[in-house]
């Protein structure tokens, strides 16, 4: 097999070829630069109208960001409120306000019973004093009259019960109003059941002796221990 003859290059031809390549590269470079200049020109506002449009877009963007921040804050507030309601509900499913109003009702009943006992005792003292005064004379009768005067003071002092009861009734009314508003808010968000999935705030558990400080129990409290049960425990 015969090999083809080696190619021979004319030095002049090679020089022309090199010059041609450099020329092509230069043209392409120039084209690229023109293209980039065109892109740059299109990006750079060249008129007052397009600059105003860009400013408007920037302003709208700032407002949109501000609006987003506001919405985030509102969302955060709603979540916190829902957690507060969930905490209120989880801490006392029967109703915190109901519990408080029951306690206040017990205060009214307790003071009313005590007032009636005081009044009954005062009435009896008054009756005895009246009988005694009719049998006495001089300084002794005067002492009986002074006792009777003091009994009037007891009657007057028992006025407090009515006023106290009415004041507590006003407080109970206000608390029920608040409870109704909270319930209405819960209804807006789908009712109390919808709060079951909301994480409640952690209410610190009472510990040690503090955990035993529950105050007087209501008669309706299922955990209330009767004196009979206590007596049975102590034999």
């Amino acid at each position: 097999m015969r090999l083809p003859p080696p190619i021979s290059f004319d030095p002049l031809s090679l020089d022309l070829l090199a010059q041609s390549r450099e020329s092509i590269a230069a043209r392409r470079h120039a084209e690229i630069m023109r293209g980039m200049a065109a892109i740059h020109a299109s990006l750079e506002p060249s008129s007052g109208a397009s600059k105003a449009l860009l400013d408007q877009i920037r302003t709208d963007l700032r407002e949109a960001l501000h609006l987003k921040e506001e919405l985030d804050a509102i969302t955060e507030s709603i979540q916190r409120t829902k957690r507060e309601i969930a905490t209120l509900h989880s801490h006392n499913p029967g109703g915190q306000v109901t519990s408080v109003t029951d306690e206040l009702g017990a205060v009214v009943c307790g003071t009313e019973a005590a007032t009636n006992s005081i009044l009954a005792a005062a009435e009896e003292i008054d009756e005895i004093t009246g009988t005694l005064a009719s049998r006495l004379s001089g300084p002794d009768a005067e002492m009986a009259r002074r006792i009777s005067d003091r009994v009037i003071t007891i009657f007057e002092a028992c006025n407090f019960q009515d006023i106290t009861g009415q004041r507590i009734s006003k407080v109970v009314g206000s608390m029920k109003f608040i409870e109704e508003r909270v319930t209405q808010m819960a209804q807006i968000w789908g009712g109390l059941e919808s709060f079951n999935d909301v994480e409640a705030f952690k209410v610190p558990d009472r510990e040690g002796d503090e955990a035993l400080l529950n105050g007087p129990a209501l008669d309706s409290d299922p955990n209330r221990t009767s004196q009979d049960a206590i007596d049975a425990l102590f034999g």
Partner: protein, 127 residues
Amino acid sequence: MALNTSLPVLIVDDYQTMLRIIRNLLKQIGFNDVDEAKDGSEALGKLKEKKYGLVISDWNMAPMTGFELLQKVRADAELGSLPFIMITAEAKTENVVAAKQAGVNNYIVKPFNADTLRSKISAVLGE
């Protein structure tokens, strides 16, 4: 001048304890013919049955308030001039003015004492 304590008195209050207190204070003053009613409507019934010399009424009661009772008494041909004292915890000016305009003879704000009660009764009964 001595107070005419022989007059029958009707006390009206929905609060049993207050009825008891007023009754005892009236007794100390010298009134022994004292009847009780627990609201305005019951009082109105008693006023129709017996001739009273004085009504002492609370304001805030149900179903008929002391203010309604006062208005009905004043509107009644037979009861219109009956002495009427309001004893109430309602101490706002608008309450006092309304009661005065409705024809109440005197107004005592709770809590009160025997001297206040005595002086108001004396003023109302004109003695």
